[in-house]
C-alpha cells in the first residue's frame, strides 16, 4: 500500500471552484483556466488531478495510460484515485475519463465516441501536455468562440494532432478533450473546429 496524500483542503468549495473553471474552459474552447486548489497526485499534473477530483466518482470509469509514469508511481496514483474518487480503473474502451500523455501515440479510436442516440456516452480525454506557450499554432472556431481563437497546446504526438484536425467521427459523436499543463487547462470539445494556423 502506497502513501495516500490529501485531496482538496475544502472539499465542497474547492470542487465547486474547479467545476466552474472546467465549465468555463469547456463552454469557451481555447480559454486557459487555472485550477490551483490542489498540488496534484504524482505523477499527474495539478490540473489533471483536480479535473479527476472534481468530476469522477464511483459512476465513472477512469483509464490511466501506462505511459504516464513507471509502475510504482502509477500504483501510488491508483491508490490515491481509489481513495479520493472511488472510481474504478477500466480499459480504454470502457473509459468515461481517460488520462494520457500528450506525446504518446494514442489509439484514439479505442475510446468511446458515443452513439447517435446517446452521444453523451463518449469518453472525456484528459491529455497532459508540456505547456501552452509552444508547439504548433492552432486556429479554433465553433460554439463558445466569438470569432476565432489561436492556441498552442505544447508538443503533441501525431495521432493526437491528427485527431484534433481531422476527427474520425462527425458531430454529435466524438471525444471531448481537456489539455492540462501544470495548473492550467484548455478544453477542446467535439464542437470545436481546429485548423493549423
Amino acid at each position: 500500500m502506497q502513501a495516500i496524500t490529501s485531496g482538496f483542503a475544502q472539499g465542497v468549495a474547492d470542487s465547486q471552484f474547479c467545476f466552474r473553471h472546467i465549465l468555463t474552459a469547456m463552454s469557451e474552447p481555447g480559454t486557459v483556466c487555472q485550477l490551483n486548489k490542489h498540488p496534484g497526485f504524482m505523477p499527474l499534473h495539478a490540473a489533471t488531478s483536480q479535473v479527476l477530483l472534481t468530476l469522477c466518482d464511483q459512476d465513472t470509469g477512469i483509464y490511466l495510460s501506462a505511459n504516464l509514469a513507471n509502475e510504482a508511481e502509477l500504483a501510488a496514483l491508483t491508490d490515491n484515485l481509489a481513495f479520493h474518487c472511488q472510481a474504478p480503473l477500466v480499459v480504454a474502451e470502457q473509459a468515461d475519463f481517460a488520462v494520457v500523455d500528450g506525446q504518446e501515440e494514442v489509439a484514439m479510436s479505442s475510446f468511446k465516441a458515443g452513439t447517435h442516440l446517446l452521444p453523451e456516452t463518449n469518453c472525456t480525454l484528459v491529455i497532459q501536455t508540456n505547456g501552452f506557450h509552444h508547439g504548433p499554432l492552432y486556429r479554433l472556431t465553433g460554439p463558445g468562440i466569438e470569432h476565432h481563437k489561436h492556441v498552442q497546446l505544447g508538443y503533441l504526438s501525431p495521432t493526437i494532432t491528427e485527431h484534433l484536425i481531422a476527427p474520425k467521427q462527425a458531430f454529435p459523436l466524438g471525444l471531448d478533450l481537456i489539455f492540462c499543463a501544470g495548473e492550467d487547462i484548455i478544453a477542446i470539445p467535439r464542437t470545436t473546429k481546429v485548423e493549423l494556423s
Partner: protein, 294 residues
C-alpha cells in the same frame, strides 16, 4: 418583503444540510451532465433527478442546476416571468440565500448567475454570466410524438420535418405561425431545442448570446445547454419569416417601446394597461426618466 429578506439574510445555513442543499455526489453527477450538455449544444442529457424541497413544476430542474453550480462568490438573481418579486422568484432566492449564504440581487447587470422562469432579461447579458432556465417539457417534439424512444431516434436521425409541419398547420389554420412561446429553435445547425416557455420575443436574444445558457427539467430529468456565441435559429419559412410580438402601446410605467409587455386588466369595463414584464428593467427606465427630469 423587505422584512422577510432581512430575516433570511440573518438566518444561518442550517448545519445539517450541505452547502447548496444537494450532496456532493449528486452535484458531481449534475456537473458531468452540464459539461456533456455544453459539448453537445441543444442535446438533452438525461440526469438523475433528486427530490428537492418543492413540488415538480416549481422549478426543481432550475434549482438542481443552481445548486450544482453556485458558489459563495456568486451573485444570484431569480426572476419569474421577468419579475423579481413573485412567489416563485422570492422563495428560490431565499432558499439559496440560506443554503449558500451568498449575495442576491435584483439587478441583471450585477448578477453572475440568473435563474429564470420563462423570460430572458431585457438588459443584454454579458460574457461570464450564466442563465439557468426552468423547463417544464424539454422535448420540443413531445406533442407531435409522445414516445421518448421515437423522439430520441428523431434527434439521432435529425428528423425534424414534423416540427415544420406543425408550424405549417398554424399557417393553414390562422394565416400565420401562432406559436408564441416555447418557439422551437435549431442550435448550431443540429439539434432542435425547446427554449423553455420563454415568449418568442426572447428567441432572438438566444442567438450568439455572450452568456452561457443552461436549461433543466426536474420532472423530466433532462439538462441541455447553449454555450456562448452559439448560433440559435428560430424555425420559420421563407414566405413566413420568424417575427416577434409587437404592441400598439408603450409600457404604462416607464414608456419603453422595445420591451416585452404584460397586459393588465384594470376593471370590468374593458380597461387595461400594458407594463414591462421585466421589473428590474422597468425600474431602471423609470429611474433614468427621474434623473432626466430632475
Amino acid at each position: 418583503m423587505s422584512n422577510f429578506s432581512a430575516c433570511l439574510a440573518q438566518a444561518k445555513q442550517p448545519s445539517h444540510y450541505n452547502f447548496g442543499y444537494l450532496d456532493e455526489q449528486s452535484k458531481r453527477m449534475i456537473r458531468r451532465a452540464i459539461i456533456k450538455g455544453v459539448c453537445i449544444p441543444g442535446y438533452q442529457v438525461a440526469f438523475g433527478g433528486r427530490e428537492m424541497p418543492m413540488p415538480y413544476g416549481w422549478g426543481t430542474g432550475g434549482i438542481m442546476l443552481s445548486a450544482a453550480i453556485l458558489g459563495q462568490q456568486d451573485v444570484f438573481k431569480v426572476i419569474d416571468q421577468g419579475a423579481d418579486d413573485t412567489t416563485n422568484a422570492v422563495s428560490i432566492r431565499a432558499f439559496f440565500q440560506q443554503m449558500c449564504q451568498l449575495e442576491t440581487t435584483t439587478q441583471t447587470a450585477k448578477a453572475s448567475v440568473i435563474q429564470t422562469r420563462h423570460r430572458i432579461p431585457e438588459q443584454p447579458l454579458r460574457h461570464g454570466q450564466i442563465m439557468v432556465y426552468q423547463v417544464p417539457i424539454p422535448e420540443p417534439l413531445r406533442f407531435i410524438e409522445p414516445r421518448e424512444t421515437e423522439t430520441q431516434k428523431m434527434h439521432g436521425l435529425e428528423e425534424y420535418g414534423a416540427m415544420h409541419v406543425k408550424l405549417y398547420e398554424d399557417i393553414v389554420q390562422y394565416g400565420y405561425i401562432a406559436t408564441s412561446y416555447a418557439y422551437p429553435v435549431r442550435v448550431n445547425h443540429r439539434y432542435l431545442m425547446d427554449p423553455s416557455p420563454i415568449p418568442k420575443f426572447d428567441n432572438p436574444k438566444l442567438n450568439r448570446n455572450p452568456a452561457l445558457m443552461l436549461f433543466a427539467a426536474g420532472r423530466e430529468k433532462r439538462i441541455y445547454c447553449v454555450p456562448p456565441y452559439t448560433q440559435v435559429v428560430s424555425l420559420d419559412f421563407e414566405d413566413h419569416p420568424f417575427a416577434v410580438q409587437q404592441w400598439s402601446q408603450p409600457c404604462k410605467l416607464c414608456g419603453s417601446q422595445d420591451s416585452f409587455l404584460d397586459e393588465v386588466l384594470l376593471d370590468d369595463q374593458g380597461g387595461r394597461m400594458f407594463v414591462c414584464s421585466d421589473t428590474d428593467y422597468c425600474q431602471r427606465q423609470q429611474e433614468k426618466q427621474h434623473e432626466c427630469s430632475a
